[in-house]
């Protein structure tokens, strides 16, 4: 036997919605959730935990040659920075890195701009990226040394190679993902060619371009340090890779760690200051990325 469910009949009512009860519409979030909302605090906590783990492991191993502790490394790092020795190495590395990075960006932009405006440009980009993207930059180093000699030129060549392909690939994917409507809106107002690329495609594809820039930056660093480890000083002045290599030869393991830590620190600073700021004033502000 089944009972038919009948909802109750209730009285109707109407209300004035003139004023909101209880004051304002917006209020500040409680302090605890505001603190937890700071990403640099949360990331700092992760770093502190890792340092603590390292320190514990180092003390437990008790072997300076194999694994110096966090405090020993920090001391070596401080010493290197204070004496200016490390800073000189960093300056050498960074200047080469920036030159290669910027050249790679410029080339990637030219290739992708060609690829979105012409069919042959697209074929060129697709063929070149599938050929060269899998090729490790270090594998090109012997060739580069042959062509450009032992020095800056070779380093810049391999850095350009390591930045160009992943950035071009990402940028091109971003361009292709731009909504057709947005493209048509741009063309509707008479934009075409390079102006369409600069005023519509680049900002619309910025999330992909930024991620390409990040990947390119990381690849450039890796390639540079590895290349410096392989052939050391460029015209008498060594970079960070050279510093690491030399100190390993002399068994200053704490200095090796200090050099590695500096590579990591620079990476963190660039990621959190440069790229994060770029994202905050662009894609995050525009609601294109969360």
């Amino acid at each position: 036997m089944t009972m038919l469910l009948e909802p109750p009949i209730r009285a109707e009512y109407e209300r004035d919605t003139a004023a909101v009860q209880g004051g304002t519409l917006a209020r500040t979030a409680p302090l605890a959730s505001r603190i937890a909302g700071q990403s640099w605090l949360r990331k700092g906590l992760v770093l502190a935990l890792l340092a603590l783990l390292w320190e514990g492991l180092g003390r437990w191993q008790d072997n300076d040659l194999l694994l110096p502790t966090f405090t020993q490394t920090a001391a070596a790092l401080w010493q290197g920075l204070a004496s200016g020795e490390l800073l000189a190495h960093v300056a050498v590395s960074l200047s080469v890195l920036l030159q290669g990075y910027l050249a790679g960006i410029a080339l990637a932009f030219v290739l992708t701009a060609l690829a979105v405006s012409t069919r042959i440009g697209r074929d060129l980009l697709e063929t070149l990226t599938s050929m060269f993207n899998p090729l490790p930059a270090i594998a090109l180093l012997p060739l580069a040394l042959l062509w450009f000699g032992l020095g800056r030129g070779s380093l810049i060549f391999v850095i350009v190679h390591s930045v160009l392909w992943p950035l071009a690939l990402n940028t091109y994917a971003g361009f292709r993902g731009v909504p057709e409507t947005l493209r048509m809106a741009g063309r509707n107002y008479g934009l075409g060619g390079l102006r369409l690329v600069l005023q519509v495609l680049v900002p619309a594809a910025l999330p992909s371009i930024l991620s390409g820039l990040k990947i390119g930056w990381a690849f450039a660093w890796r390639t540079l340090i590895a290349a410096e480890l392989v052939f050391g000083a460029t015209s008498g002045k060594g970079g960070l890779g050279w510093y690491i290599f030399q100190n390993r030869n002399e068994l200053y393991t704490d200095k090796v760690f200090a050099g590695l830590a500096l590579v990591i620190l620079i990476g963190l600073v660039v990621e959190n200051l440069v790229f994060r700021t770029l994202e905050r004033v662009t894609v995050l502000r525009w609601g294109m990325q969360r």
């Binding site: 048509m184 509707n188 107002y189 910025l206 525009w286 294109m288």
Partner: protein, 285 residues
């Protein structure tokens, strides 16, 4: 002979000399698309004239090529046959004299504020300097009631507000013809009704020329003064009817219901003239 019969006569080959020169003339427009190795015909020899001050509606079920016709008029698609003329000049590509309002909300660059969005075409087409563009943008933003949001980014706006920005951006360009491709289709019913009302008010005030694509019979009757009915696969002209007598407040009236049923009949009961018109309503208010 009633005025409507006279007009019908003109369409079927009577003397059109009484009419002024049309603003937009589509003559035997055939559109084709490559789909894999096949070429699909989207519209077949579609002809119609849009006069100055018209609110001309293209109405038909999906697959009738109404959006494609609008994009052809905008210059995004080159017709495979026939010709398109705007004020006597053939249409060869997209241009700021024919501004399109799209259905999709992503027609607004998300990296520009409302104000910058409305300024964008004025600057991109080189029509105005920065200062004049800004003044004109603010004027039109005010016209669509968004002054308070002039510095907001699109992602913070509701769907209806985004379409208002798109309309303000289009009107600020003062184009010869405004092309609207189902501009309210992605909105909820209440907002859609409000936007139709606002569009009508703007037209009353400014008397721009409008080509409007929709698949809602009610929207066609409410928005347009003349409706081109298209049948699908491929798109062909089924009829061209008047709807200037209807406004937002005629919805629900007997004449309005009859017109709705007549259109429904024309669109869906092809061949079977004696079948009773179904009492089915499409979704739009």
């Amino acid at each position: 002979m009633s005025p409507r019969e006279q007009q019908l006569l003109q369409i079927v080959g009577g003397d059109p000399s009484g009419l002024p020169e049309p603003l937009l003339r589509m003559r035997d427009v055939s559109l084709e698309f490559a789909s894999g190795s096949r070429i699909v015909r989207a519209t077949d020899k579609v002809s119609f004239d849009v006069h100055r001050g018209d609110r001309f509606v293209l109405l038909g079920p999906s697959g009738c090529g109404k959006s494609s016709l609008l994009k052809a008029a905008a210059g995004f698609i080159a017709p495979a046959g026939g010709g398109i003329e705007l004020a006597g000049k053939p249409v060869r590509g997209p241009g700021p004299d024919r501004v399109v309002v799209f259905q999709e909300f992503d027609q607004l660059p998300p990296w520009k504020t409302v104000r910058q969005n409305v300024m964008f075409p004025l600057l991109a087409s080189g029509r105005l300097g920065r200062r004049e563009a800004e003044q004109r943008a603010l004027h039109w933003i005010d016209k669509v009631g968004l002054s308070f949001f002039a510095d907001a980014f699109p992602h913070t706006l509701s769907g209806g507000m985004k379409q208002r920005v798109a309309i303000a951006r289009a009107l600020a360009m003062q184009p010869d013809i405004l092309l609207m491709d189902e501009p309210f289709a992605a909105l909820d019913a209440l907002t859609r009704r409000k936007m139709q009302e606002e569009l009508q008010q703007l037209w009353e005030e400014l008397r721009f020329t409008l080509l409007f694509v929709t698949h809602s019979i009610e929207e066609a009757l409410v928005v347009g003064n003349r409706i081109l009915l298209l049948s699908p696969h491929p798109g062909r002209v089924r009829a061209e009817i008047n709807s200037h007598q209807f406004g937002l407040h005629s919805a629900g009236g007997a004449d309005f219901q009859n017109a709705t049923q007549r259109i429904h009949h024309l669109l869906f009961e092809q061949g079977d003239q004696h079948a009773p018109p179904p009492l089915q309503r499409s979704y739009a208010s």
